[in-house]
């Protein structure tokens, strides 16, 4: 178990190094960083002064070591727009994004897993038709379009929820629903197909032959075995959701990282974009590591290295 964990941790750190290298290269190797970061009308003297100040005139390897040593303590320089540390801007936006992503994921899992299970346990039933319909809708409805329809109907017509911003407790409902819908669709489809497959395994017949009650068979024997692919999808999707959704945060004016990223790109605020990219990558890698650990907890064959 420890060996498994250390290997996965090593892989994650290597991946993290790769991400840092890539982000570093994007700015410094693909062109003149000063030209990218300064306004077009900057004079040659201003550019030279900027290079001196940012250290762009040093050898590239020195710059990379400097970049790395700052990156590990979360220092990605100052935002060009706000003149404050980029990482502070990211962490300020974090609670809003976490709130949105967690609510969206909770909704996707709490609805997706039970409906997918009902569909997989009774293929061809009414519950199964509902499962397949939800899977199809979740994965095919464009969420920016759905977001606008929901704003019109539930926000403007019915006045149930605020149409934008993060304020009252219920302001998270619509953006979280829209964000979670495609994930729910994917979870429904995956749960259904995995449960359908595991339902006909020999050990499930054994469970029936023991006279166990159906809820015990469904949860302990079928769902537990079906949960590995479901958890891997949850891990990956939650990573994406925590990166902040540009569309949804923009449509609902949700003050999260997605919206910040969209603004930062517009302002050509390179240090800020860098900070968001690296932060998001770290979150995705950390979640993948966590997912691998959860696998090992559920499946002893992984834990014992089979």
């Amino acid at each position: 178990m420890l060996r498994y964990f250390l290997i996965r941790l090593g892989q994650s750190l290597a991946l993290m190094f790769g991400v840092l290298l890539l982000v570093f290269m994007m700015l410094r190797v693909t062109g003149d960083p000063a030209a990218l970061m300064l306004p077009r009308e900057a004079s040659a003297a201003e550019i030279e002064a900027f290079r001196e100040r940012m250290g762009f005139n040093r050898p590239i390897i020195v710059q990379f070591v400097d970049f790395l040593s700052k990156a590990v303590v979360g220092d990605f320089g100052e935002s060009l727009h706000f003149r404050t540390p980029a990482m502070t801007l990211v962490t300020q936006r974090l609670p809003a994004t976490v709130e949105l992503a967690a609510t969206g994921l909770l909704f996707a899992v709490l609805i997706g897993v039970p409906i997918g299970m009902m569909g997989g346990l009774k293929p061809g039933s009414a519950a199964d038709s509902l499962a397949r319909l939800l899977a199809l809708m979740g994965q095919s409805i464009p969420n920016f379009w759905l977001a606008m329809l929901m704003i019109l109907f539930f926000g403007v017509q019915l006045r149930w929820f605020p149409t934008f911003g993060r304020g009252a407790w219920n302001s998270v409902v619509m953006p979280a629903f829209v964000l979670g819908l495609p994930v729910m669709g994917q979870i429904v489809r995956l749960t259904r197909s995995t449960v359908l497959e595991i339902r006909s395994e020999d050990f499930v017949r054994t469970a029936y032959s023991k006279g166990l009650e159906p809820p015990v068979i469904y949860l302990k024997h079928i769902l537990r075995n079906a949960s590995i692919p479901i958890i891997s999808v949850i891990g990956v999707q939650f990573g994406y959701m925590l990166g902040g959704s540009i569309y949804i945060e923009t449509i609902f004016a949700w003050p999260g990282m997605g919206q910040l990223l969209q603004l930062a790109i517009g302002w050509r605020d390179f240090p800020l974009v860098q900070a968001i990219a690296i932060f998001t990558s770290t979150v995705v890698i950390a979640l993948n590591l966590l997912t691998d650990l959860v696998y090992a907890i559920i499946d002893p064959r992984i834990r014992y290295g089979f």
Partner: protein
């Protein structure tokens, strides 16, 4: 001897997209208390489906039990297994009737410990506390010949050998003192040496616990030293039912004779060619209105193509479903 299970005219079909599979077409048999009945037949003869139908352990849909009766004489009077409610059925499954399946590698849940899989059936049926159930699980593992039960209890199935896994399955089957154990080809997936150990284990447990045993197999070789009685099945019907020695000494159905001819023997000196039965088993998609073995039978005569031969007692306690009198070498004239 007192009867524990009485099956009459069981019919099971599978309604698949390709058509209706007539898997079991009228099976009747009795099982006495403490008796071992072997059900023998080739793949697709309906031997597993007929027994699994009794406790509705076939996939439904597509499977459907069309008719029949299965009286189980348990501690509280006779009950028709085919007409029990789901709840009553669950009380019998794993309680009064235990199961051992063919492949222990896939029949145990891969992500639960062996102990958990034994304890869950004990707490389900015997109303013991978890601690008491654990004690019982340890005793069970010891009684099925697993060394170091305390350690094995915490093992996962993939950490055990095939033979050990099958012993765990057997521990599960006998966990709640069943009156019947149904073993569906319990040795087929195992090495030959392990097969012998498992057969010996069953013999010992049968004696210790006094349970009746239904042993489903395609291997007549294993049956000889184990079963009291044998039912040979063909095309979803019983072809011949007899006490085991009687069946080996006086097989009456041409199919049984064919099966015995295909069996290697160590007790016969002369070098003898193994004889295979020509042809293939019947296609169960088509309902057959004559003897299902007629296509492959050397003795078939016109009547065999006109009616289904009923299972009748030809010699004492020896029933066969055949119109031809093998011993006299001519069709029967006694009204059958």
């Amino acid at each position: 001897m007192a009867i524990i299970l009485e099956v009459r005219d069981l019919k099971t079909r599978f309604y698949t997209v390709d058509g209706v599979v007539h898997a079991v077409n009228g099976v009747s048999f009795d099982l006495a208390k403490g008796e071992t009945l072997a059900i023998v037949g080739e793949s697709g003869s309906g031997k597993s489906v007929s027994v699994m139908s009794l406790l509705r352990l076939i996939p439904m849909p597509p499977g459907r039990i069309e008719s029949g009766q299965a009286l189980f004489y348990g501690s509280d009077g006779p009950k028709d297994l085919l007409r029990l409610s789901q709840k009553e059925l669950r009380d019998i499954r794993g309680g009064a009737i235990g199961f051992v399946f063919q492949d222990p590698a896939t029949s145990l849940n891969p992500i639960l410990t062996v102990g958990e899989q034994i304890i869950e059936i004990i707490t389900r049926h015997l109303h013991l506390s978890r601690h008491e159930a654990r004690e019982r699980a340890l005793q069970l593992l010891a009684s099925v010949g697993i060394p170091d039960p305390e350690v094995r209890l915490g093992c996962y199935p993939f950490q055990l050998s095939g033979g050990m896994r099958q012993r765990v399955m057997i521990a599960i089957a006998i966990a709640c003192n069943p009156q019947i154990v149904i073993a569906d080809e319990p040795t087929t997936a195992l090495d030959v040496t392990v097969q012998a150990q498992i057969v010996e284990l069953f013999k010992r447990l049968r004696q210790e616990l006094g349970m009746a045993l239904i042993w489903i197999t395609h291997d007549l070789g294993i049956v000889a030293g184990l079963a009291d009685r044998v039912m040979v099945m063909y095309g979803g019907r019983p072809a011949e039912v007899a006490l085991v020695d009687e069946l080996y000494d006086h097989p009456l159905h041409p199919y049984t004779i064919g099966l015995l001819g295909a069996l290697p023997r160590l007790d016969v000196d002369e070098s003898r060619r193994l004889v295979s039965i020509r042809g293939t088993p019947p296609d169960l998609m088509i309902p057959i209105q004559h003897c299902p073995f007629a296509w492959r039978c050397d003795y078939a005569f016109p009547r065999c193509w006109e009616e289904i031969p009923p299972l009748v007692e030809v010699r004492p306690k020896h029933m066969a479903a055949c119109f031809f009198d093998i011993e006299r070498g001519e069709p029967r004239h006694d009204g059958n």
